[in-house]
Every structure is written in C-alpha cells, then in structure tokens.
Amino acid sequence: MSKVYIDAVGLAAPGLVSWDEALPILRGERPLVPAPVSKYAPTLLPANEQRRATETVRLAFRVGEEIMRSGVDVSQLATVFASSDADMMVSHRLCMALAQTQRLVSPTDFHNSVHNAPSGYWHIGARSQQASSAIAGHDHSFAAGLLEAITQTQADRQPTLLICYDAPAPEPLHEKRPLASAFAVALLCAPDASSRSIASLAIESLHAEAETQLNDTWESLRLSNPAGRSLPLLLHLAERKSGPILLRRSARSSLALQIAPV
C-alpha cells in the first residue's frame, strides 16, 4: 500500500506541553515530569466563539494551532477530529440538568455537546471550508482517526489534519469512564514527500494481533487517555526510528503501520 507523509506534529499531554518541548523528553534526554495540561486560549477563535468554547474545544485548538505555527496554511486543510468521548463535562452538565424537574438546558451546552463541536469551531477559526469528519473509536479512537486521515490523504491526494483529543469527565461520570488526564495530538498528513516531511507512514495490515506496548516511563501515559495511544508513533517520530507500530483498532485486531524517517 502507498505511503503518506507526516509533515507536522502538535502535542499537549501531562509533562509534554508542545511537540518541540516534548522532543528531548521523548528521546530520553530529559525526564518526563508529569504536570496537568494547562488552560489554553486559542488565538484563532473570534471573541464571541472564544467565550463559548469549552476546555475540550480549547484542548483540540491547542494542538491544531501548533501545526499552524509551524507555517501551514490551515485555511486549506481538510480535517479529521477523533475523540472517544466528545465533551464529558458538557454531557455531565446536560444529564444533571435533565435529572432536575425543571430540566433547564443551556442552549450553549447543547450545541457544544455535539461530537463535532471542536471541528465546527476549528473550521470557523481557521476559515477552512474544506471537509471535516468527527470520528469515535472509544479506546481505539487514535487508530480510527489515523486510519481515516491516511485514507483521505491517499484517496483524495490532499493534505489532511488529524486532531485526536480527550479530556477527563467530572464525577460521577469519571468513575464510569476514568481518563486520568487530558491528552491531545495533531498530525498533518500529506500525500507526497516534501521538505517538511518528518516520516513516511504506510498501512501494512488491519488485522495484526499484538499491540505495541511501551516501557514503564510511557506505558501508563499511553493507557491514560485514548489519545495517549499515539505515543508509540510519537516516540518513533521523535527518535527518528523506523519500524512497525501496532495500534489496537478493535477488540480483535490491530492496525499495523510501517514508519520510516524522511
């Protein structure tokens, strides 16, 4: 199967505040010092949308805007947003309101509750009229989103921005869906190699059995959030390593990718 190219990366995770700052940590040159992901004020959003945007929307913008700062014209980009749980803070507030007798629902909460809310805000902020999808794959959401981003890039020969993110729920929902911390990653996929390209990526199989696991430093972070499942890929990118990467994509199967530095 043909290759796509990774041209830029955005990252926000505990102790990994951006892709550039994460590089020495991912390479093992500096220790990982976990700290909560700080609040972020998107630069692309107009003031009125800025007010309505939730923490989860801001998390997605943070990694998308990191791609923009690398010099990419985001107004021309199609996007794939991948998330397991959309905005659990918002769904919690809606379910709480609907459990009261008055059932007073905030209209802003309702429009923020759609799974594609970050996609909608992003295309407004980035002024991109290109297509956008919003995909869910539970714990396999990164693999599902990456598969769709690679597919779009290859099938339509156009660059595609993947933004994968999830943020923890408040209690009592947190007990039922315990994500340890926020995590977001953005990958710009391109159909052809260019001076920007960091690595090539090819799908080898959709039906591998194993899954790439990590050493003690990284394994708990990988499992802490569906977007954390991107860490095997991020470690290869940071260390400029080639090799197979196996990402669980369903209860039975893994997506096998071959990555090579460019």
């Binding site: 309505r52 609907l98 295309h123 929902l173």
Partner: protein, 395 residues
C-alpha cells in the same frame, strides 16, 4: 495507488423509523402520504410537540448482547433484523470473510438516553451512577458502530462518525474511500439515533422545536419535529441496479448552530457531489432536501439549490413523514432516495400548506410518479458540517 472514485453498488438496504419497520413500511407511508409523527410525550418530557417515535423498542436485547442494553442499540438491533439485511451481510461474509467488510455508522447521541436514566438513578448520598450503567456500551459514540459490527460479526475498519445531522450521510463517503484504497472490499454503512431528553430539551432551548407538526418550506414553518430511526445499506464494488454515484463534503465555517444564510457550504458540497458523480446539474431528477422546517435551514438550503441546480429541479423534504432523525437522517433519506428510484416516485413536501414565497426552489406540493434515475440527498449538521450524496439507478 489512488484512483478516481468509482460508483459502488448498493446490494441491500433497510430503514426503520416512525413509519414502521423495514423498507416496505417506509414505501407504503411515502406513497400514501401518511406521516409517522404523533403528538406525544417521550419519557418524562413535558414538551408539547410532535415526535417520530419507533414502536417496538420495549423488547430487551438478547442475553448475549445484554451489556449493550439501551434504546439506541435496541433500535439498531430492530433495524438490522428487517428486510433480511443481516442475512445479506452474513452471505457476503461467507464469500469475502468478515475482515474484508467495513462498518461505518453515524450517530449523534448514541445511547445518551441511558446516561439520562442513570443520572436520575444516582445514589442520593454518594452521587454514584448505578451499577447497571455501562458508559462504554451506551453513551460512548463508538458503541453504535461496535454494536453493529458485533451483531454482524464483521471486522473490517469500524468506527462511528458523529457530525451531528450529517453523520449517516458521511458514512457513505468514508466507506467509498476505504474501499477505493483497498482497506476493505465491501462496507455496511448506516446510522442510528434514538429519542432522548438531551435533543428534545436541547433543540427546545435553541427555540428550534415546533409546537406544531413540522412544515418544511412552509411560509409559517417554525421548527423541527424530532424523530428517531435506524437504517443500513450494504456497499459492494461493481455495477448494480442501485448505485452510490457521488458525494460531496464541506464545512460552512460560519456558526456552530446556524447555517450560512447564503448556503455557501451547502452549494459547495452539492457541486462536489455532482463533479464526483460526473453528472451535470440538469441530470438530477429529484432532490431530497435536508429541509428541517426551521426558518433558517430551509432558506439557506434554498439559496444553495438556486445556486447549483436548474430552477425546475423537483425538491422536497421528507421530514414531514419521519421528523428530523438527526444522526440517522442521512441514512433514512438515502433509503427514501433509493425507494424513489426503484418506484419512480418523487414525494411531495408533506404538511406544507402554503409554500414560502421567498423560496425559489421547485418544492413539490404534489407527489409525482415518473422515472427517477438520479437523486441528490442533502444532509447538513451543527458545526457547519455538510454532506451531499447522489444515488443512481441503472439506465
């Protein structure tokens, strides 16, 4: 390597909505012009509005699927059981192997109604959610796709698409691309969305729910009626009697919950779908509109229609029959489009008493019986997510 998109055969399809179970029930109601909307309450709702509810969702899921118990998965199960759809997939699985069949399912709210019930059943002292609540099998958006893949026992690429009211139109685009680059040889596409308080009270908070039955394109239209539905189609390579000819996707980049009043994003998606299908605007015999019945949607969509298609092109919304089935609207209206082709039928705009004189499109006020070869189906969602599909029948 990449190739231009090719048309895919639709070898099985089904829908279950307020009109009844399966394809024949949908067709009979379309032909007889009988709406499935009823003035009734859902759960503890006290909203005075019409809803399109599916009957027959009181039966529990089979024991083996008990973990998935919720209204949305019951609806998925019921819809899969109609028209021999699951058997068709099983026959194809025997031929291709389950690994070569993808599953792409649209949903906007999945099993959120189950979460609403769980929050009402919170422990009064600890606030804990009840033991019976499984977030993963119900509220999680992936639950709908995973449930369908589990029931059908297929294991090609599988995910949910959740782009509000365009969700189960966009699944056709995802499936076509996946088949084209060889990730699978066939795909089950579809969508399931079920009634819940979140959407009833949410749309009501946005003042988008009508107190009357929804009247798309009417001069006095004032909002949507919410419905629920599930539907599926089986896409395979090669020629067929019914085909997916093209699709177009775009973003409005305008507003989170209101359409671009000029219909710019909708028009771009329509043009992209025509280009992909290799058709001229004049080739479209009938447009199944998104046509929600809100003042803003119908006006914006009319702008797009006027921009892209000849003035005489026959158009109507079928939401007067089913209500707005949200994340299932794309698949329900795809099924209606296919029924129109198979039966040579263009439905009128049901419940429309007086056409809004500001609308320029040729909104059908009487159903038409004539050969229909190419149908365009529009789906637009919150977040400015647009998807347009074009279906065709054999010449």
């Amino acid at each position: 390597m990449t190739s231009a998109s090719q048309s895919l055969a639709i070898t099985a399809y089904t829908a279950t909505s307020a009109l009844g179970l399966g394809r024949d029930a949908q067709w009979r109601a379309l032909a007889a012009e009988t709406s499935g909307l009823r003035k009734q309450k859902f759960d503890v709702s006290d909203l005075d509005c019409w809803v399109g509810a599916v009957d027959g969702l009181d039966t529990a899921l089979p024991e083996a699927l008990a973990a998935w118990e919720c209204r949305n998965n019951r609806l998925a199960q019921l819809a899969l059981a109609q028209d021999g759809f699951a058997q068709r997939v099983a026959a194809l699985r025997a031929k291709l192997g389950g690994d070569r069949i993808g599953v792409f399912i649209g949903t906007s709210t999945a099993g959120i109604h189950h979460s609403e019930l769980a929050y009402r059943a919170r422990d009064t002292t600890t606030q804990k959610l009840p033991d019976w609540f499984s977030h993963r099998h119900t509220q999680s958006s992936f639950s709908t796709a995973e449930f369908v893949a589990t029931v059908l026992d297929v294991n090609g690429p599988t995910f949910s698409i959740s782009t509000a009211c365009s969700s189960s139109a966009k699944v056709f685009a995802a499936a076509e691309r996946a088949i084209r680059i060889g990730l699978c040889d066939a795909a089950v596409v579809g969508g399931v969305d079920s009634l819940c308080l979140t959407t009833l009270y949410g749309f009501n908070a946005l003042q988008l729910v009508s107190g009357e039955i929804c009247r798309p394109a009417d001069a006095v239209r004032n909002g949507i009626s919410i419905g629920e539905a599930g539907g599926f189609a089986l896409l395979e390579k090669g020629p067929g009697k019914l085909q997916l000819l093209g699709y177009g996707e775009s973003s409005d980049a305008h507003h989170m919950s209101a359409p671009d009043p000029h219909g710019g994003g909708a028009a771009r998606a329509m043009q992209a779908a025509l280009a992909r299908a290799g058709l001229e605007p004049g080739d479209i015999d009938y447009v199944n509109l998104h046509g929600t019945g809100t003042p803003a949607n119908d006006a914006a969509e009319d702008q797009a229609i006027a921009t892209v298609l000849p003035a005489a092109t026959a158009c109507s919304s079928t939401k007067g029959w089913t209500g707005h089935t949200l994340g299932a609207a794309g698949i329900v209206e795809s099924v209606f489009s296919l029924l129109c082709i198979e039966n040579g039928f263009a439905p009128r705009s049901l419940n429309t008493l007086t056409k809004d004189p500001a609308l320029r499109g040729n909104i059908l006020l009487k159903s038409e019986r004539r050969p229909i070869r190419h149908v365009m189906s529009n789906s637009f969602g919150f977040g400015g997510s647009n998807c347009v599909l074009i279906f065709g029948g054999a010449a």
